[in-house]
Amino acid sequence: MKEQSRRVNHPCGQIVARPHEMDELLERVWTQREKGKEDQTSLLAATPVEEGERWLKGLLAEKLIHLEGGSPEGEKVLFTPEGEKEAREIIRRHRLTERLFADVLKTSEEVWEREACELEHQTVLTEEAVSAVCSFLGHPPTCPHGRPIPRGRCCSEFKKDLTPFVIPLSEAQVTESYKIVFMTPENHRRLDRLAVLGILPGSTIRIHQKRPSYVIRCGETDVALDLEIVKDIYVRKG
């Protein structure tokens, strides 16, 4: 059977849905390229031979990749411009999801890895939703593993400002003013204790210093805090 994408009914109308396995392979072409490997052998190393060949043929038929001969390790697998765009979106969705589940929702690594694999597929999140998540997270440059997140249109619009939209307070600049957008502390007690000091969403806050301990100023109150608390406070400039 020849593997091909099929049209599916989606709330937003008909869109092209590829089998998830093809997405996985596209994703793998991207990550292999990040490691500097482009040969077919290492690309299919982790997949059963028959399966891998089948999905590779599928991608070739969709004109998402093309092959180039020549290297001793086997043929090179390269993106077509169309394939590069698709892979980029998948990677972007995957890594943004990881960030969302790891940083904001504080799920375990197992959970955020799994969710990222589910939500990376094109049929799940619309482009608007991805942009919204990206802005919400403050256009993060890397995933929790430290690999780069491909920039989207929302990021380049934001680039003029250079600093992301919403950032953890720990990454804020000393003496600039920020507004607290949300807080994700590990326990409620911490949230309550911060709240009565006036540190809660909507409050204006400034980092006084980062070393030897964080000292932040809220109104006319100076408070010394541990890094663990500071990085759970998300702020935006203003």
Partner: protein, 653 residues
């Protein structure tokens, strides 16, 4: 005390409670209103104990209660619970809410809760000078109209505005200000209100506390309500909390703060602040990662010059050699020899080698007293100026390593003055694990000022490497033991979240009164122990038991540690007070009975000893008998073991 009798007898006299955030000057105002002094401190948590004072206002006798600082009346700390319980259970006639004018936002959060309680109160905006310097103007008339309670501006340290507070304190009424929460919260409040009994504070406010999940209210609830009602209350709370993704307490606080911000938009104006004063410059410098270390070094030098040089040398010389050596002791010897001419035993009891006057009182008053008094002055100065919290910031990371956090700096520094007092303040740590570690480290390796003075005196006569060795071994033991107990002991580390008060010029009168209060406590604690210790030695000496004990301990003291047999005597009294023990070594050393290696070994062992009997008693009181046995059972073998290793190492070299 006359005050006390009056307080006990005065169940019906009106009570006025002072309530407010930490560091707003409540204690100063309390002092001004009552004329009686309590500890004023910059550090959150120092006024854990509640002070009460009797006075008359407008010819009417009243009792004034100084409550611990709170950030909310839904308690999140022991302090806050004490304050809330005073309001809930004692039902004061009136409340004076003291606010730091420049932090009015946080103060109004409490005002709203007082308004909800339906208690008569007035709002005292203190430190108006500081808020003016920050460019903050508060329209007090407008605020008073909105809240429906008197709003009075004061500058407590200059006694400004206090008269007016006093005048209005008894004639206040409950606030007229009303505000509502979101519809869901309001419904839940209504449902809970119908289930509650009548109390000194309004049902509405208790309902809000219950909705906030206030666990400290449990005792009160079980006392006043049936189990069935409590179940109902919990159901109402649970169904409300299901509506929100955030905890209900936080939702309520957020809504309150919205009301506060609206109030502030009418009454508070923030203009450009004046140029920053020297205080904020010093404040920044003292917590700077690099300059802060220089400031710390500077502070240490000044403290050393004042306590170590002036207190421990100049003043001690004057008192010990001069006053006691030349005048008091010879005079006492003559006097007691005459009185007890019939009995050498009784004469020696007072003026012999181990005499109460010639040894106990001379040690206590001539040697220890000047050191302790200068230390407490220095400590009060650091405390009142706001330096200590900044030191916490500098040392937070180091303290994290040993299972504590920056908050523990204050008890540790206080321990350099008196470990017993410091053990008592270990309560400010949030978790039991931290309290135990702190108590252990204080007992193990923080020498109190009395001992430190003697140690430094002895080290001064030794080569410089001895000082480094002593410091390294004691500091190393603290870090090692702290680190290991942080791994071994069960329990949690708590957050480092500490308010940093501005740098303020300490007022002389506060420092003097505070030093006297501490000194009084110290003398009551120490002098009796010195006398007991001396008596103990005296009896050992007279009963000729001493040689037997010396023989018994000889394998340990003479064998393992290579010390002369008189050292046993020093260790024996060291069980009572380690500075007393150290003083014996100081004597021995002065008489040339100790070699440099013996001197350093004895200093290290004695420093690692448990400070004194009073400290042991305080550990029992604060941490319990079992913890005390564990701590003491660890420290003594450890001290001898470390001493043995150092002795062995030095002899090999």
């Amino acid at each position: 005390m006359a005050d006390k009798e009056q307080l006990v007898a005065s169940e019906t006299t009106p009570k006025i409670a002072l309530v407010g955030n930490p560091n707003v000057g409540k204690s100063v105002i309390f002092g001004l209103l009552t004329g009686r002094y309590v500890t004023v401190s910059n550090y959150p948590g120092t006024t854990v104990e509640v002070a009460r004072g009797a006075t008359t206002i407008e010819g009417q006798p009243v009792v004034i209660i100084d409550t611990p600082g709170v950030n909310s009346l839904v308690p999140m700390s022991e302090d806050e619970q004490v304050t809330r319980d005073i309001l809930l259970k004692e039902g004061p006639t009136a409340i004076i809410q003291v606010a730091d004018a420049k932090n009015i936002r946080r103060a109004l959060l409490i005002s709203l809760q007082l308004a909800e309680m339906g208690k008569p109160f007035l709002l005292d905006l203190n430190m108006e000078d500081e808020s003016a310097a920050c460019g903050i103007t508060i329209d007090k008339t407008e605020l008073a109209t909105k809240l429906g309670v008197p709003v009075i501006g004061t500058i407590a340290i200059q006694k400004r505005g206090i008269k007016e507070v006093q005048k209005k304190a008894l004639s206040v009424a409950p606030a007229t200000f009303r505000f509502s929460y979101s519809a869901e919260v309001e419904t839940a409040i209504q449902n809970i209100k119908t289930l509650l009994p009548k109390s000194p504070i309004s049902r509405r406010s208790i309902a809000l506390m219950i909705l906030s999940g206030d666990k400290s209210l449990k005792g009160w609830m079980h006392e006043k309500l049936s189990d069935q009602t409590i179940d109902q209350l919990e159901q109402i709370r649970d169904s409300l909390s299901r509506l929100y993704s955030e905890p209900v307490a936080y939702v309520i606080n957020k809504q309150r703060l919205r009301v506060v911000d609206e109030l502030m938009s009418f009454c508070v104006r923030q203009e450009r602040r004046e140029k920053e004063g020297w205080q904020s410059w010093v404040g920044r410098l003292s917590m700077h990662p690099v300059w802060g270390l220089f400031v710390l070094a500077g502070v240490l030098i000044v403290v050393y010059e004042f306590v170590g040089k002036f207190g421990a040398q100049t003043a001690v010389n004057f008192l010990e050699k001069g006053l006691f050596g030349h005048y008091l002791n010879p005079w006492a010897v003559t006097l007691f020899s005459k009185i007890f001419s019939f009995s050498p035993f009784l004469r020696d009891l007072f003026v012999g080698e181990f005499g109460i006057v010639t040894m106990a009182l001379t040690y206590a008053l001539a040697i220890i007293f000047p050191i302790v008094i200068t230390f407490f002055i220095a400590f009060s100065f650091m405390e009142d100026s706001g330096y200590l919290p900044r030191l916490s910031i500098m040392l937070n990371r180091l303290f994290r390593l040993i299972g504590l956090n920056g908050k523990a700096v204050v008890p540790m520094v206080l321990g350099l003055g008196c470990d017993t007092m410091a053990t008592m303040t270990a309560r400010i740590m949030d978790t039991r694990k931290e309290r135990v570690i702190l108590t252990l480290l204080l007992a193990l390796g923080v020498p109190c000022s009395a001992q430190l003075g003697i140690v430094l005196g002895m080290l001064g006569a030794l080569p410089i490497w001895a000082t480094f060795l002593w410091f390294g071994v004691v500091g190393g033991s603290l870090i090692l033991v702290g680190f290991l107990s942080a791994q071994i002991l069960p329990g949690d580390r708590s957050d480092f979240m500490m308010e940093i008060p501005p740098i303020r010029r300490p007022t002389l009168i506060n420092i003097v009164t505070k030093t006297f209060a501490r000194l009084e406590w110290y003398l009551k604690e120490v002098v009796p122990l010195f006398i007991i210790g001396t008596l103990f030695l005296f009896l050992l000496d007279k009963s000729s038991l001493l040689p037997k004990i010396q023989n018994f301990a000889s394998p340990l003291v003479e064998g393992f540690l290579d010390l002369p047999k008189e050292a046993t005597e020093a260790f024996l009294v060291g069980f009572l007070r380690r500075d007393y023990g150290a003083t014996r070594f100081f004597d021995l050393f002065g008489k040339g009975r100790l070699t440099p290696i013996q001197a350093i070994v004895s200093l290290i062992v004695m420093t690692l000893f448990v400070p004194c009997l009073a400290n042991v008693l305080m550990i029992i009181k604060e941490r319990g008998m079992r913890t005390m046995i564990a701590i003491v059972g660890f420290i003594y073998p450890f001290a001898f073991f470390v001493g043995g290793i150092i002795n062995w190492g030095l002899r090999i070299l």
